[in-house]
Symmetry: C2
Subunit: 202 residues, 2 copies
């Protein structure tokens, strides 16, 4: 059989690299300029790609930006899953800190702009709702796994959900000003609380 | 002395009523159409006020929409403060539910549109940052009071802050779909948790 590498098509590689550049430029653009300032043309220029090539990959503006948020969300999930499982004292705090960083970077800012635009832009509505649900489920699954949470214990599922809701709220609080100092103390306190919920005493 | 009522100027009353109609229309407009779709002209029409009269009250678009969010936030605070202080079992749950409703109605939707627009619209930036800080402080103070929280106890301040961050996150989760059922369970669980934090056993 022909070795697998011999099957790689340099043209396909270039196409994949272009697609990736467009997705990353789209997320940065959404995070910085909001939906109103995010067009295919602006992203193509930022990515150094012709407008025609951009439209070949993403026929509509909605295609480009929903694909971009999905792509970056998947990358962030993969990074988190690749973290070595923390052990010992402070384990919950370490995991909670890692989860909360999902909501304080450019991905959350971009996703937020998309969610908010979807609340009034009809052509975004259903696609973004589906995407939000998918990212939400995936984040929850990852949180349960990283925390080693036993969801069969009453209240544990809701505690993990509430933690992620808090993460979203902390992300929002970080949108206009650097809220890092306050956030650190909130995260420390709720990590302690979560720890007692996850490891009930007999 | 002339009785107070005789001093009331019907022209001033009309002016105040016009102002109020504009503010309420502005919040509804922001919540439904986002910043991009919210102009003074659209709000004036919705309020049944001439564009000239609208501009007399609010010279700029930024004046109108920041004043609108501030006005409605003050009204909501006044309503919450007027609630009879709940007593007995389930008290914390009742208060937490009331606080969380701050984040699931049209006021939060309108404020969210304004915060998000302020992250990329320079002329909104500093005004909205100041407004957000003011509303945040006021909400925190109200939460502490309604919960009867003793912030001199270590961790209590951060617990209340985290609760309000969670409220913001729950509001965001409710933006595109009705998240009421899930929210109810999260609120019930975190109310139980908060209760144990606020009433430490000796």
């Amino acid at each position: 059989m022909t070795p697998r590498t011999a099957l790689r098509d340099p043209k396909q590689d270039r196409s994949r690299a272009t697609r990736r550049r467009l997705l990353e430029a789209a997320v940065a653009c959404l995070a910085e300029r909001g939906w109103a300032g995010s067009t295919v043309a602006v992203v193509a220029e930022r990515a150094g790609v012709s407008r025609g090539a951009a439209q070949h990959h993403f026929p509509t503006r909605e295609d480009l930006f929903t694909a971009a948020v999905e792509h970056v969300a998947e990358e962030r999930s993969a990074e988190l899953r690749a973290l070595p499982a923390p052990h010992g004292e402070g384990r919950v705090h370490t995991v909670v800190e890692a989860l909360i960083t999902l909501y304080t970077g450019p991905l959350f800012r971009a996703a937020l702009q998309l969610w908010v635009a979807a609340s009034y832009e009809e052509q975004l509505g259903s696609r973004v709702t589906a995407l939000e649900a998918k990212i939400g489920r995936e984040t929850h699954r990852m949180a349960v796994e990283l925390l080693g949470a036993d969801e069969s214990v009453p209240g544990v599922r809701e505690a993990v959900q509430g933690l992620l809701d808090m993460g979203r709220g902390l992300g929002l609080a970080n949108l206009l000003t650097d809220d890092g100092h306050r956030r650190e103390r909130v995260v420390a306190q709720w990590s302690r609380v979560l720890e007692t919920i996850l490891t009930p005493r007999d």
